[in-house]
Structure formats: C-alpha cells, structure tokens
C-alpha cells in the first residue's frame, strides 16, 4: 500500500509538473518574447518618411538586403541594431514613451561604446581590426557620429561631403584647409580618407600607410627616390617642413624660405646671413630673399640624382 500511495503521489507530482509546463507552453510566447511580433512591419507603422527621423531610405542600402546573411534585414530587421522592441511597441500602444529603443549618434543618451558594440557586431571584421584602442575609440566617438545609416548614400562616402563630417570635430584642420596653400579638400578633389583610416590605429595619425612618407608617396611617388644626394629631413619625415593640412606659405611649408632653411643651415656665407627687410627691395634687394629665395638655385630640395647634385642645385 505504501508503495502504491507513493506511486500515486509520484504520478500526481509528474502530472502537476506537466500541467505547469503545459501552461508555460501556452503562456511563454506571450511574455518571454522580446522582439516585436512583426519586425519592421511593427516599426514602420510609426516610423516613416513623415516622422522626425525619416527611415525608409535604409531600404536603398545594403543594410536592408534580405539575401546577404550578414545584413541586419536578413535577421531581426530594425531590431538587429535598435534592440528587441516588444516593450517599446507595447508602451507606445499605451501612449507612453518610457521604453525607448537603442538610438545612435552624437546626441544619443546611449554611451558610444554601447552604440558601437552593435555596429562592430557585424563590422569588426571588415577593416576595423585596429579599432579597439584607437584614438577614436578611446575618445568615445560613436560610429553614428560620422556615419548615416538611414540615407541612400552615407555622406562619408561622398568625396565632396566627407570632410565636413571630420571637420565637425577637427575644427583646426577645417581652418587649415582654407589656407592659401592646401590640399584640395575644399574643392572635393580629395577627402580625409585618402590619407587617413579613421577606423584603425596601428599607424601614426591613423594613416593609411605605414608612416607619413609612405602615405605622401602614394600621390607624390616622384619624391620617393632613393636619390643619390638625399636631403636628410625629406627622407625622414615630410612634415618636418610641410603642414599637409594647409599653410599660408607656398607649397604648404611651415615657414617661408630663407628662414625655413636657416633653421637648420648655418655655414658661414650666404646661408647664415641675416636677410632683413632692407633686402626685400631697393638697392639692397637680394636674390636670397626674393623670388624663390634659396630655391632660386637649390631647387632640388627633395633630393637629386645628378652626380653633381650634392648641393641639391642640379
């Protein structure tokens, strides 16, 4: 009897447990699911071109592809990036606004690191191997501070618009780009990313190439040499003499000759002579000051391959 009663109790326990589980089967889809019921169809009921932040242009972009398994719309659609939206949907239906979705950009309340975690979930492995520990990461720059996702063409991929994005933070560089001698950023003929990789950090100044000179040689290969008669600072670092972002002196030089040259050269004679304002005109005008100054003769400042070019004048 005792054994039978135990079995009955045992069976009752199992049946009871089964009922609870059965109940859960019915109830859990209603409460355990975080995502909206219909994905983008739930979101687009409210978020359209008439809303404060028009969103539909995302369907003109790669993010909306449903055939690329890496695309957000191949899985949780809007919620791939903005997080599961069940609570948000429910609170909006109740006329409340207390369950915001994950938002992006400079003015978002979500910390940049959390925003970027979403983007890097897919993009970490595409040219952003050096993102971690990079200057932009350490300065809490959010991906969406620069990138636009809900537009047909992200402005950073537009050579005419990209620099305005960078100048939003790099104000001094914007000013430099308008100086008398500058690379053609303001004309849209060059963009910041021609020299810099904003996602990487392995190279100095986030440069695309291993060092400054290698970056410059990409467009100025004629300066590479190696020359028979090298000019030592040229071979070492172009920025010793040039400011690549712009200068009010010709050829983006940091200083005008002859003073630029006299910072490093002082043999007795004409290289170390003081050329004052009296040498700029009148009876004492000097070829060492006027015209191209030192370069009136020493024009091969980047190096010479002439067997007689030791003084970089051939």
């Amino acid at each position: 009897m005792i054994t039978t009663n135990r079995k009955k109790r045992y069976n009752k326990l199992i049946v009871g447990f089964g009922l609870i589980i059965g109940l859960l089967i019915v109830v859990t889809p209603l409460y355990a699911e975080d995502f909206t019921r219909k994905g983008a169809d739930s979101c687009l009921k409210c978020h359209d071109e008439e809303s404060d932040f028009p969103v539909l242009s995302i369907f003109k972009t790669k993010h909306a592809s449903q055939v690329d398994p890496e695309s957000p719309f191949a899985s949780a659609q809007c919620e791939s990036c903005h997080g599961a939206g069940k609570d948000h949907e429910r609170s909006q239906k109740k006329g409340k606004d207390d369950k915001p979705m994950l938002t992006f950009g400079k003015t978002s309340n979500i910390p940049a690191s959390q925003q970027n975690k979403v983007c890097l979930g897919c993009h970490q492995n595409h040219g952003r191997t050096g993102w971690t520990g990079s200057v932009h990461e350490e300065e809490d720059v959010a991906c969406a501070s620069c990138h636009q996702v809900h537009v047909e063409r992200d402005r950073v991929f537009n050579a005419q618009a990209q620099q305005q994005v960078c100048f939003g933070c790099h104000a001094t560089t914007r000013a430099e780009s308008h100086r008398a001698s500058a690379h053609p950023l303001r004309f849209g003929q060059m963009s910041c990313s021609d020299c810099h990789n904003p996602h990487d950090s392995n190279n100095d100044s986030l440069l695309n190439r291993s060092n400054i000179n290698d970056t410059c040689y990409t467009c100025h290969a004629e300066k590479r040499g190696p020359f028979l008669w090298e000019h030592a600072p040229v071979a070492e670092d172009c920025t010793i003499c040039h400011n690549p972002h712009g200068s009010n002196h010709q050829a983006m030089l940091k200083q005008r000759p002859p003073l630029l040259c006299q910072q490093c050269h002082s043999p007795s004679g004409h290289p170390s002579t003081a050329y004052t304002s009296e040498n700029a005109s009148g009876n004492f005008q000097s070829r060492f000051v006027l015209g191209r100054s030192c370069s009136n003769c020493h024009s091969q400042v980047h190096g010479s391959n002439h067997p007689s070019g030791a003084t970089i004048s051939r």
Binding site: I14, T172, W229, Q300
Partner: protein
C-alpha cells in the same frame, strides 16, 4: 497482468509527461529564438530597379583666372558643359550598382562606379582628373616649355644682369605652369569562402604639364623656367583576409612603379657666360619602384582583452642611368664611379598596438602599443667628384644614404571615476637612431593626462595636457664633405626639446537642436639648449562652432577659428659673429556660416560663406634695429548658393552660383617681375588677386 498494466500505464504516463516537459522546454527555448523568416516586411518599400538623377546644362565662368581655376579646372572665361549624375540599381537577389559623377564637363572631374552581388563580390571603377596651376602671371622668354630642352629665341642677346637684357620685354611668353593629373582606379573584392575575402585594387596616375624650376651658374646667376612633368605611377594593392569574429588576419602586398619620361632638363643660359656654360643641365626625378608585404591581424583573447598589430617589410629601389657630371664639355667625359645608383632602401614597420587593449574591470581600461619603424638605406656609397653648377669641379664627396630606426612605446590608463567623470593618463617613449647625421640617438618621453566631464547629455567637457622632453646624444657635425655649420647650431629635428600641449573642449547642447562647441589648442616647443637654430615655436588655436537644426528641414551653422603660429630663430654667420634673430608671427582667422534647408518636397536651398584671412609678420634683427618686413597677406572670401526645384516626379532644376574674391600680398614676388632681380631671371610670378564667379543652371531628370 495487473502489475504489468500498471507498469505500462505508469511508463506511458511518464512518457507523455516527459514529452510534454521536453516540448515545453524546447518551446521556451524557441520563444527567444524567433523565426525571423516569418516577418513579412510588408510595409518595407521595394526600391528594386534603377533610380538616379542626370543633371545637364550650362555653366558660366566670369574670369580666366588661373588661381581661381586651381583645382576647379575652369581656366577659361565663358560657358562650359555642366553635367553631373548618379545612378543606383538594386534588386531582391542582392545585385547592386552605383554610379556617381561630379563636374564631368570640367577639367577637374570625377566618376566613380561600384557594383556587385552583396555578400559575394564587388567591382570598382573610378576616373578622376585634377588640374593644378602653379605661378600666377608667369612669363618666360624660354621656348620649348613642356619639353626637356629649353632654348632662347635666336635673337636673344645674353647679358650679365637682367636689367641689361634689352629684348626681354618683347620676347616674353605667357606660361601657365599647369599640371593635370588623371587617375584611373579599378578593383574587385571577392568573398570566396566563409570568412575569406580577397581584395585587389589597381591605380594608374598620370601627371602631365609643367612646373617651375630654378637653377644657376655657380654664384653668378640663376634662371627660373618651366620644366616638363610627365609622370606615370602604377600601383597595386592586394589583400587576402581571413575575417573571423574573434580574430582576423590580413596579408597584403603593395606595389608601386613610378616612371618619369624625362630624366633631365637642359636650358640655354640667358646670362653672359663662358663658351662651355651656354647650355646647362639638371637631373629630374628618377624612375623608382616600391614593394611592401604586410601582415596584420587582431585577436580577441577574451571579450575584454584584444590584441592587434601589423608587420610590414618593404623595398624602395631606383636604378636610373646617371647623366654625366656635367653638360659642360670640359667635364662631360669625367669618369663616374658607377653608371647608375642601384639604390635600395629596405623598410620595415612593426606595429603592435592594443594593441593590448584590456578592460580590467567595468571602469578601468588599459592600452599598450609598440611600434618599430626602420629605414635601412643599402644604397652603395661611392666617391663622386661633383662639378658644381656645371662650372666648378669640387673635391670628392661621398653620397650619404640616410637610415633611421624608430621605436615607440606607449601605455594608456583610462578610468571612469564617476558616472560623469573619466580620467585618463598615459606615457610615451620614442627612441630615434639615425645614421650619418649630427645626432645618432634621441629619446623623447611624453606624459599626458586628460579629464573628461559628461554631467549630462547637454554638456560635455574635456581638458588634456601633454608634456614631452626630448634628449639627444652628442651633437657631432657629420664630416660629409659638405658645408660646415656653426658649431652651436642644433637642427631643430635633432635638438633637445621641451614640448607642451594643451587642449580644452566644451560642447554644450542647451536644446536638442542647438550645439555650441568651444575649443582651445596650445602647443609650445622650446629648444633651450640650441644657441643657434630654432629657439621656440608656439601655436594657439581658438574655435567656436555653432550648429542649429530644425528637425531634418533646416540646418544652420557658423564657426570662427583663430590660429596664431609664432617662431623664433637665431643664426650667425660665424663663430665670432654677432648672432641675429628672426621672429615670425602668422595669424589666420577663418570664419564661416551656412544654411541648408528643404523647404518642402520640391524646394531645397543651401547657402555657404567662408572667409580666411592671414597675416604674416617677419622681423629679422641684427644689431642695426631693422624695420620688420611688410606683412604677408592672404584674404579669401567664398560664397556659394544652390537652389534645387523639383517640378514633378521626374523633372527639376538646379541652380548654383559661387563667388570668390582673393587678395594676396607677398613682398618676395610682388613687383619683382621677370627682371627685378639682377642676377635671377624669374618667371615674374605675382601674388594672385581676383574676384570671379560661376553661374550654373541644370535641368535634372530623375528616374
């Protein structure tokens, strides 16, 4: 049997219950594992097919001013074809195509195409042209501009100084000193297997035209003239990548081949000279090659600790045939130590940054970086006996192939002390070893600290201070056969240096639509150990930035940046001479404001204005209390307006107008003219001054 039935019933019940339990558990599991394929995306718009805009019309340029045309590519007054366009294709299968073009009717134009099958492959094509103008109002008596042989008119009479070149005025020709760069890009990316990707890019750059050059005949005289530019550079860049979630590895190869169609330029000496120096010759840039093989990668040791780095080895080489020591017949047969340089520089760069990056806990992160950058110049060293400026044979001189070895180590610690306060500090060590230069070793240590305050979304602040000290080994002037500098000279890139940098930024968003950004930057370099050479340089920059956005309809912005760059230099003509000093002060003010608005679905308007004014003061003082140079000035004002009106779904109009006024003043060239310096025949280049405008009207067809 009863017992057996009970057992059967009991087993059956357990089986049913177990099935229910398993079904329940699996249902719970699948409740969070949503089947996204059931999401229909019925409200998602279908943009499959072609879309785009083609804008075509006419533009008008008011002036044929070379400086205004610089980079714009509009060097002739009058009408031009104004053609722009973009096209986009996508379909449900993932195929896509994009075309973007800009200013196709101008000398400076861009076309860019990419397409492919998303997630599988992409192809790219680009074509761009950029015009660059050097020299403003340049004139020359030389014939053959653009070739490697510049001659003077047959009736040219040489003279000892330019003021005695009596025919000069009548023989001058305008020369534009223009280079035109054409760039072809082509590339493909192929994702050929899970996590594997191959990218190949090819670029050809051709740069043609003329640029200014100058050379002289010893200390007697010099001439400025245009030399030919006929450069071709082919580059390839290919990368094989393995891209996993936790780790990524890339192997890359870069190749670059530079070809100059002219290895030298000869010119007729316009000055009175001896029989053997009537024609002079200079070398132009030699052909060169470059290869670089690199490996880079990143590995997440754990979710909080990541390691990334790269290593590369490269080789630059150049083996162009030497020209003789001199075109002067007296020396043209002199024996060279070799017929070509056979130059080779091995480069190697090893970067390791992050790159131990470790999040020690929720509040503390640590980053360490190491970088090695080596330039090992293996160019053979020989004794050359140069003929200075085709006239004076000099003592034998060894060529100096410079090498360096840089090492950089740094470590940063970032601590979120409070919800609104982030403290950071770091240290950097830089060691630089050079060969054949005055200083063999230099070491620089930098300490920095930063405080970031973020009390709320409306206010953010940051202050960063950096202090560096560079120490050098003994300063020993190299005995390279060249001129001997003042013994107290310290070249500033090889001198002891104290450096300070301060950055302050405040960002305020009083309302969501309004942003106010204030920033200040100060840098100071002191070379206190240098008695001769650069003494100090200071740079200060102040910026105020305002932006105001009304939804997505209206954007307003304004900015003002004030830059001040000062430097002080001391030099002397000899050990016993009284040193002289030079103080330079460059002040640049840049200001801008603008508006962009979409008034409604049909009308959009944009206004932009920017102004950049610079003043350069130079004072060179000996013991005679000389007056300063008259200030150097540049003054740019540029205003642009664009107005787009969409008539219907397909047709619209685009109106663009731009006005630019530029004023500059430079005592080194203004008023000097071609013959203003007795011993230098110049190109007569003047400071640019112009005001010009562009008007463009285009019809736009949207599809």
């Amino acid at each position: 049997m009863k017992t057996f039935k009970n057992i059967q019933k009991s087993t059956f019940n357990k089986f049913i219950l177990l099935s229910i339990v398993l079904a329940g558990l699996s249902s719970i599991a699948s409740a969070n594992d949503t089947d996204f394929s059931k999401w229909k995306c019925k409200l998602c718009p279908d943009y499959s097919g072609w879309t785009g805009d083609v804008a075509f019309g006419l533009g008008f340029v008011s002036e044929d001013d070379l400086r205004f045309a610089d980079f714009r590519g509009q060097d002739e007054q009058g009408l031009y074809l104004a053609i722009d366009g973009r096209a986009h294709y996508q379909d449900a299968d993932g195929y896509y195509f994009n075309l973007n073009s800009h200013n196709l009717g101008l000398d400076s134009r861009q076309l860019e195409i990419n397409g492919g099958h998303q997630g599988k492959y992409e192809y790219r094509f680009g074509w761009s042209e950029i015009s660059k103008y050097r020299g403003y109002g340049s004139q020359t008596p030389f014939l053959g501009a653009g070739t490697d042989n510049l001659t003077l008119p047959t009736d040219w009479v040489p003279a000892v100084s330019t003021d005695q070149m009596t025919q000069l005025g009548g023989l001058l020709l305008n020369t534009s000193l223009k280079t035109h760069r054409k760039i072809l890009d082509a590339g493909v990316t192929w994702k050929f297997a899970q996590n594997w990707e191959y990218r190949f890019d090819y670029q050809k750059q051709k740069k043609n035209g003329t640029r200014p050059f100058a050379a002289g005949l010893f200390f007697n005289n010099a001439s400025q003239f245009p030399v030919p530019v006929d450069f071709t550079t082919d580059q390839i860049d290919m990368v094989l990548s393995w891209l996993g979630k936790r780790s990524q590895v890339r192997i890359g190869l870069i190749g670059s081949w530079f070809d100059n169609a002219n290895n030298s330029v000869t010119w007729q000496n316009p000055f009175t000279s001896g029989a053997n120096t009537q024609t002079l010759r200079a070398a132009l840039e030699p052909d060169n090659k470059y290869y670089q093989l690199s490996v880079s990668g990143a590995f997440a040791l754990s979710p909080k600790v990541k390691l990334s780095g790269s290593a590369s080895i490269g080789e630059m080489s150049q083996d162009d045939q030497f020209i003789p020591y001199s075109i002067n017949p007296l020396f043209s047969d002199a024996q060279l130590p070799r017929t070509s340089l056979d130059a080779q520089v091995d480069t190697s760069t090893f970067n390791l940054s992050g790159k131990l990056s470790a999040r020690l806990n929720r509040k503390l992160t640590f980053t360490a970086r190491v970088k090695f950058d080596e330039r090992d110049n293996k160019t053979p060293v020989d004794l050359y006996t140069p003929v200075t400026t085709d006239l004076v044979p000099s003592a034998g001189r060894l060529n100096r192939p410079y090498s360096y070895d840089k090492e950089k180590y740094s470590a940063d610690l970032r601590f979120r002390a409070h919800r609104v306060v982030k403290l950071s500090t770091g240290v950097k060590f830089e060691n630089l070893d050079r060969t054949l230069q005055a200083v063999e070793e230099s070491e620089e240590t930098t300490l920095w600290g930063e405080i970031k305050l973020n009390p709320n979304a409306q206010v953010q602040g940051r202050i960063k201070f950096e202090d560096s000290k560079r120490d050098i080994s003994d300063y020993l002037q190299p005995d390279d056969g060249g001129s001997v500098d003042h013994p107290l000279l310290r070249k500033f890139n090889q001198a002891d240096r104290d450096r300070e940098r301060l950055q302050v930024e405040i960002n305020i968003y009083p309302i969501e639509a309004l942003g106010i950004n204030l920033s200040f930057f100060h840098a100071r370099d002191d070379y206190e150990e240098s008695q001769i050479g650069l003494q100090k340089s200071d740079e200060e920059s102040y910026t105020i930035d305002l932006s105001y956005a009304v939804g997505t309809k209206i954007n307003l912005y304004a900015f003002l940046t004030e830059d001040d760059i000062d430097a002080e230099l001391v030099n002397a003509t000899g050990v016993n001479a009284i040193p002289w000093n030079a103080i330079t002060k460059d002040s640049i003010t840049t200001a801008g404001l603008g508006l962009s608005t979409n008034l409604n679905k049909k009308v959009s308007l944009g206004l932009d204005f920017v102004s950049s004014n610079s003043k350069g003061d130079i004072s060179v003082q000996t013991d005679q209390n000389e007056a300063p140079f008259s200030p150097l000035r540049t003054n740019l004002k540029n205003a642009r307006i664009h107005f787009d009106y969409q008539v219907n779904d397909h047709w619209g109009y685009k109106l663009y107008t731009e006005y630019e006024k530029y004023y500059s003043k430079d005592w080194a060239i203004d008023g000097v003219g071609v013959d203003g310096i007795g011993s230098v025949l110049t190109l007569g280049t003047q400071s640019p001054n112009y005001s010009a405008w562009i008007f463009r009207l285009q019809a736009n067809y949207r599809f």
